[in-house]
């Protein structure tokens, strides 16, 4: 594909800049799935990557539970 792509950050992107928020998700843990034993693994920022259960080293991100809408401008509550 040609990279002839007019800059697309109009409207939505600039709007997003303004609604940008300062978040501190230091404490927030995200749940992953272990690649070996399938058990859920909750990890926080900066934590070593391994399954708490079996010590496996590959984790999968779980499928998002966010609603997929035709208009993706409505942010879902997470």
């Amino acid at each position: 594909m040609s990279s002839y792509n007019p800059a697309s950050n109009t409207g939505a992107a600039t709007g997003a800049q303004q609604t940008g928020s300062i978040t501190d998700d230091r404490s927030r843990a995200v749940e992953y799935t272990c690649g070996d034993c399938d058990s859920p693994v909750a990890l926080k920022r900066g934590e070593p990557i391994r399954c708490k259960n079996c010590g496996h080293r590959v984790l999968y991100k779980q499928r998002t539970n966010r609603l997929k809408l035709a208009e993706p401008t409505i942010p879902a509550a997470t």
Binding site: M1, A16, S21, D25, R28, G46, P48, R50, L59, Y60
Partner: protein
């Protein structure tokens, strides 16, 4: 349960076997694979790797060959004679072990049963599947006791399903459990998450003296002729040493060999005299034949030359074996790196052991082995003289009969052996250093304590790394070159575009990179010798044509030497004598693996060959069935006669039926040209044929066998199909979830072909469907089907015909480009948003709290894939803190919409580090669009030119519409009759619910394919010839002609417009010339070259040309001075008082201007950038010129050349 119920059946027919396959898929067998034929296809790779570390295997033999290394202390600068007594330090390798792949002990977190590193994990983590290599070495000083020491030599890549792999012997059920395909074949390595294999190379047949005539031989020096005998001698550890005999003008013979990439020439007489205690008469009679034997008088040619050979050697004045050896030893001591205090004679013995015909004894060479070498050398000289005399023909090194296959495992073992050898040799530097620094000797106590910490530690012990480098680059770093003709290109990526391509990699044999540069095409020729060993169809066209071959599907490669200890005795019983007579008519040689067993009459030779063959098929007298018995009959000026037997590994062989016993026999390429093997049963000639093929399709490769009715096609079309089958979008496998290939293709709606050979089932190819059955009408219906275009039924497309997906894996690695020292334990970057930093909603649209993309998100160009920030370690809290509050991003840079399929978070092997790498698998949906490429299985490729609405498609009397319309013009010139037959067979198969057997060579003139399938069609109520009356979908009128319509299996090829199209009006330009840049990726243009320019000119489209070459390229407006005609002297003026005005600045010529005297009117003066006032120089014109013209002017000016432009009007 009864055993009958539990064993998985491995018999397959041509049928669909829907239920059986479904059950195999749902519950993979727990005992063995249902497709042993498929597993056998990669056997040469796996077995050759297994033989490296096997008991008495390659490495064990290699260690024997390396032997004991001796290092001396004392002053190295003094001559050995006056150095006095020195201490000797002996080192040898006792055994080398390769462990399975496990976690390092530093990982304290994995629980006991989960410590294995399975191949699937390596693919997912983009790491190497490897095991620890350890060596147990022994050392002693002088005559002390041997001391043991275990050294770790790094991590070596392991071949999958080999005896060092966790997957070895796993049942399909276990394999699925281990996240592999149920039919995982192995045979490859995983290096940095990429599947790599060592490809097989064709090399000269081992231990067979080949007669060669090569012009380049004359370059060795004056007197050298093009004649030579070349023998590639292979040691038990599979390393080889080529010995060549050169014929000189005067009749002399020199032996040539390479040692550490340098060539050496030695008079062959010297070698003969060094090998055994001999005399001139023995040599004379050994070469020409015993005195008084028949035909001696006719051999004047050889006698003359032999006399000269013996006479000229006298100048050396070496008279005994010991003296000759000492002479050789003196010359080669340094070259062979033999310790200084070894006597010359011992060094000479070592020379003979290592270099002269090492296949007849390379460790602890005995007297009888030296006698063997002596006799073999005599035979080689004999053959050389026969060649020069014209008594025998040259052997063709490009024919398969004179070749064998260098297997991946063997090469791997050879490199490993050499690295071990090098490692031991490299001890000399730290030893010398230590001696110099401490000034002490090997006998001291300090040496004992320092050996481990200061000497071994300072050698490069990381052999694993070297092997890793070899596997990942395919480059061979070797001081000896391993007797190979190339140093790179040994490994290839086992691409899993579809299963055909994947499996073909393992059946691929390459002639060698050296031959790719040859201008002659002789090496690429398809020779009759290849019959049954290399597929005549399956080779790519273009530059690798004929060099890159594929093994016929029944061709096997020996990976072990068979036991032939009984053969010499049997041959002796059958009657051979030690002495030969002078003429080939009276005595020919009998050899086993390059060892002369004796001489016998030609008649007797045939008896020996026939008897041994009978025994070997019968399985009696301890003659193994895999033995190759090459009987070459006497001929006038043909190949040098004799019986040559081969039992060692790396040979090709294939099954045929031995008629006298009606039993399986294996034949090799060397013996095959002189055998009479009937192709089919009716072709057996009584009294002549000894063998018959099991099936004529045995000569084809796996892929070539899959082309239906290939015997009906013009042969290049079958070659094209072999190419396109490998390029089609198919099903790479079922374990896609656990794979992280850079790019894989997947066909969503794969089907089993209706028309296929039984081999399709035998190889289990229904597990990997590669296309779709389509109703194809051969009709010129619209204007959109010219030139191999095809029309797709829009409704067929909407039903999912040919729908495919591309999976791409993007790796986001925080450590990329950052060399983290071993000392720093802490990371400097973390994934996620910087705490306290600004996070925009647009980012959060795609990314989750953790800074990684949400699974299922749609990505467009420029979207973020992952967020990260810099951190530093805070030792007081033990946490990573971010100080700048800046969030950095990984972006999706491609233009196509993709969806996040999987996000893999990759932890370190130790399990202690925060995430530094994620791998994101993206899914790019690719439904067929206009411009995508499709192909039938007959080399008939075409591009979709329209998706035609179903209502406008023609329909048959039964209301059927075609899925695909192709143009009838695709057939006459290409003659792909097989496609017509497939169409008919597919149609009747679909109507009757049959799987049609499409094996080639099943029909003949009496029973034609058309008749067979025509009658089937008739039975179903259709036209015998497969054509039908059809009606126009637009007008509803019946078409004037009956239309040929049937069911053909269609492949969707991976070449898609979406990856190819390239358009631009304006875009990125080269900063120097201002012209558009090259490259689709960068948004560049396609060059309008001279020929395109000529075409536009010829059409008189001057404005179009102007647009292409100027306006869309480096169109520039430039100011030029009319007076002096220069671009370079014009300069913009500067307004003195006001700020810069908008609009074009006023330009004046500096050259034509005068310094302002102050008297001019203000409107006539102008000021330059330095504030100097000028007047005049106002005859300026603005012209449109190509940007490079100005650049050219500048370049020329720099050389003192002025361009002057006349600007008119």
């Amino acid at each position: 349960m009864a055993p009958a119920a539990t064993t998985t059946s491995t018999d397959w027919s041509v049928d669909y076997n829907n239920k059986r396959r479904q059950e195999l898929f749902r519950s993979p067998p727990k005992d063995k694979t249902a497709y042993p034929t498929l597993a056998a296809a990669v056997d040469p790779h796996i077995n050759s790797f297994n033989s490296i570390f096997a008991e008495g295997g390659q490495l064990e033999q290699g260690i024997k060959d390396i032997g004991t290394k001796i290092f001396l202390d004392g002053d190295l600068n003094v001559q050995p004679e006056d150095a006095g007594e020195r201490n000797r330090f002996y080192v040898r390798i006792q055994k080398v072990f390769l462990d399975q792949s496990t976690l390092p002990p530093s990982n304290k977190f994995a629980i006991k049963d989960h410590r294995l590193v399975l191949p699937a994990e390596c693919r997912e983590r983009h790491s190497t599947y490897r095991g620890k290599l350890t060596a147990r070495i022994e050392w002693k000083v002088n005559n002390g006791d041997w001391q043991e020491e275990v050294r770790e030599l790094g991590y070596v890549p392991i071949m999958l399903r080999s005896n060092r792999c966790h997957l070895q012997g796993m049942s399909p059920a276990q394999l699925v459990e281990a996240k592999e395909e149920s039919e995982e074949l192995g045979g490859y390595f995983i290096v940095n998450g990429i599947e790599k294999l060592i490809r097989m190379l064709q090399v000269n047949r081992r231990n067979y003296p080949m007669a060669i005539k090569r012009g380049a031989f004359t370059n060795r020096g004056p007197g050298y002729t093009p004649y030579g005998i070349v023998m590639r001698c292979v040691r038990p550890d599979q390393t080889s040493q080529t010995n060549a005999l050169h014929y000189l003008n005067d009749g002399n013979v020199n032996l040539r060999f390479s040692w550490r990439k340098a060539e050496y020439l030695v008079p062959v007489m010297m070698i003969l005299k060094a090998l055994v205690e001999t005399n001139d008469r023995e040599i004379f009679e050994g070469i020409i034949g015993a005195a008084g034997s028949e035909g001696l008088t006719e051999r004047q040619f050889v006698t003359d030359r032999l006399e000269l050979l013996l006479r000229t050697y006298k100048v050396y004045g070496l008279h005994s074996k010991a003296k000759t050896r000492a002479y050789l030893g003196r010359k080669f001591k340094i070259i062979l790196q033999i310790p200084q205090d070894v006597t010359d004679e011992e060094a000479g013995t070592e020379f003979l052991r290592r270099i002269v015909l090492p296949h007849l004894g390379s460790t602890h060479v005995t007297e009888s082995q030296n006698a063997d070498k002596f006799r073999m050398l005599l035979f080689m000289i004999r053959k050389l003289y026969a060649l020069v005399e014209g008594e025998c023909a040259v052997d063709n090194p490009d024919a398969v009969s004179n070749q064998e296959v260098l297997l991946g495992g063997h090469l791997f073992g050879m490199i490993l052996k050499e690295k071990l050898d090098e490692w031991l040799n490299s001890l000399s530097f730290p030893l010398r250093d230590w001696l110099r620094k401490t000034g002490s000797s090997f006998t001291s106590q300090q040496f004992h304590s320092d050996l481990r910490s200061q000497i071994f530690k300072r050698t490069n012990e990381n052999i694993g790394q070297a092997m890793d480098y070899f596997m990942s680059t395919g480059n061979l770093v070797s001081p000896t070159g391993l007797d190979l003709q190339q140093a790179s290109g040994f490994t290839v990526v086992a691409e899993k575009i579809n299963f055909y391509r994947f499996i073909s990699h393992f059946r691929m044999v390459h002639r060698g990179a050296f031959f790719a540069q040859l201008k002659t095409t002789t090496v690429r020729k398809l020779l009759p010798e290849s019959w049954g060993f290399l597929c005549p169809v399956h080779t790519p066209d273009g530059s690798p044509c004929g060099l890159l071959n594929h093994l016929a599907h029944k061709c096997k490669i020996a990976t072990q030497s068979v036991d032939v200890s009984a053969i010499p005795k049997l041959v002796a019983q059958l009657g051979v004598s030690n002495k030969s007579s002078a003429s080939l008519e009276f005595s020919v040689v009998v050899q086993l693996d390059g060892r002369v067993l004796g001489y016998c009459s030609p008649k007797q030779a045939k008896v020996i060959a026939d008897t041994l063959r009978y025994w070997k098929v019968e399985g009696t007298h301890n003659v193994p069935v895999e033995l190759e018995i090459g009987y070459i009959p006497n001929s006038t000026g043909g190949q040098y006669p004799g019986v040559y037997m081969f039992s060692q590994s790396a040979r090709m062989y294939r099954p045929v039926k031995y008629l006298p016993l009606d039993k399986l026999d294996y034949v090799g390429p060397f013996e095959q040209p002189f055998m009479s093997i009937a192709c089919t049963d009716p072709e057996i000639v009584s009294g002549d044929s000894t063998h018959v093929e099991y099936d004529p399709t045995n000569i084809l490769s796996i892929l070539a066998n899959m082309t239906p009715f290939s015997d009906f096609n013009q042969s290049p079309r079958n070659m094209y199909q072999c190419q396109m089958g490998k390029q089609s979008m198919g099903t790479p496998g079922t374990a896609m979830r656990y794979r992280t290939d850079n790019k894989t293709y997947r066909l969503q709606t794969g089907q089993t072909p209706i028309v296929r050979p039984p081999l399709h089932n035998e190889y289990g190819l229904d597990n990997f469907p590669n296309g779709t059955n389509a109703v194809v009408a051969v009709i010129s219906y619209t204007g959109y089907d010219m030139d191999d275009a095809m029309i797709l039924n829009k409704s067929a497309h909407e039903r999912g015909f040919g729908h495919g997906t591309i999976y791409k894996t993007k790796i986001c690695d925080l450590e990329e480009g950052q060399r983290r020292g071993r000392s720093s334990k802490h990371v400097t970057r973390l994934f996620g948003f910087a705490p306290g930093g600004l996070v925009t909603a647009a980012w959060r649209e795609k990314l989750d709290d953790d800074g990684w993309p949400r699974v299922g998100t749609e990505l467009r160009h420029g979207d973020v894939i992952a967020a990260w920030h810099n951190v530093s370690y805070d030792p007081s809290t033990g946490e990573y803190v971010n100080r700048d509050g800046q969030t950095q991003l990984f972006k999706y840079k491609e233009d196509e919409v993709a969806f996040v399929e999987e996000v893999r978070i990759i932890g370190s092997e130790s399990g202690t580090e925060p995430c530094q790498k994620i791998s994101v698998k993206l899914r790019v949906p690719r439904s067929p669009v206009i411009g995508d490429k499709f192909s039938s299985r007959h080399g008939q490729k075409g591009v979709c030119s329209q998706k035609w609405p179903a209502i406008d498609m023609p329909f048959s009397e039964s209301g059927m519409q075609p899925d695909v319309i192709i143009n009838p013009h695709a057939f006459p010139s290409r003659m792909t009759i097989g496609m017509f037959v497939e169409s008919m067979a597919g149609k009747s198969g679909a109507l009757h619910g049959l799987a049609q057997d499409s094996t080639p060579f099943r029909f003949d003139e009496q029973n034609t394919a058309v008749d067979h399938f025509g009658h089937q069609l008739m039975k179903a109520g259709y036209n015998y010839y497969g054509n039908e009356p059809m009606y126009s979908g637009i007008t509803g009128q019946e078409l004037a002609a009956d239309i040929y319509i049937g069911v053909v299996y269609y492949q969707r090829l991976r070449h898609m417009v979406n990856d190819k199209y390239q358009v631009r009006t304006t875009g990125p330009v080269n900063s120097l010339t201002g012209q558009p840049i090259k490259g689709r990726k960068k948004g560049g243009g396609i060059r309008v070259g001279e020929m395109e320019r000529d075409a536009l000119l010829a059409h008189g489209t001057a404005f179009l040309l102007q647009d292409r070459l100027m306006n869309c390229s480096d169109y520039t407006k430039a100011a030029v001075c009319r007076a002096c005609g220069s671009f370079l002297s014009t300069a913009p003026t500067v307004t003195e008082f006001t700020r810069k005005k908008k609009g074009t600045p006023i330009v004046r010529c500096r050259r034509c201007a005068r310094l302002s005297a102050g008297s001019e009117s203000k409107s006539d003066t102008w000021v330059d950038g330095q504030g100097i006032r000028f007047t005049g120089g106002d005859d300026i014109a603005v012209v449109a010129v190509p940007g490079v013209l100005k650049y050219l002017d500048v370049e020329l000016a720099s050389m003192g050349i002025r361009l002057k432009f006349r600007v008119e009007p």
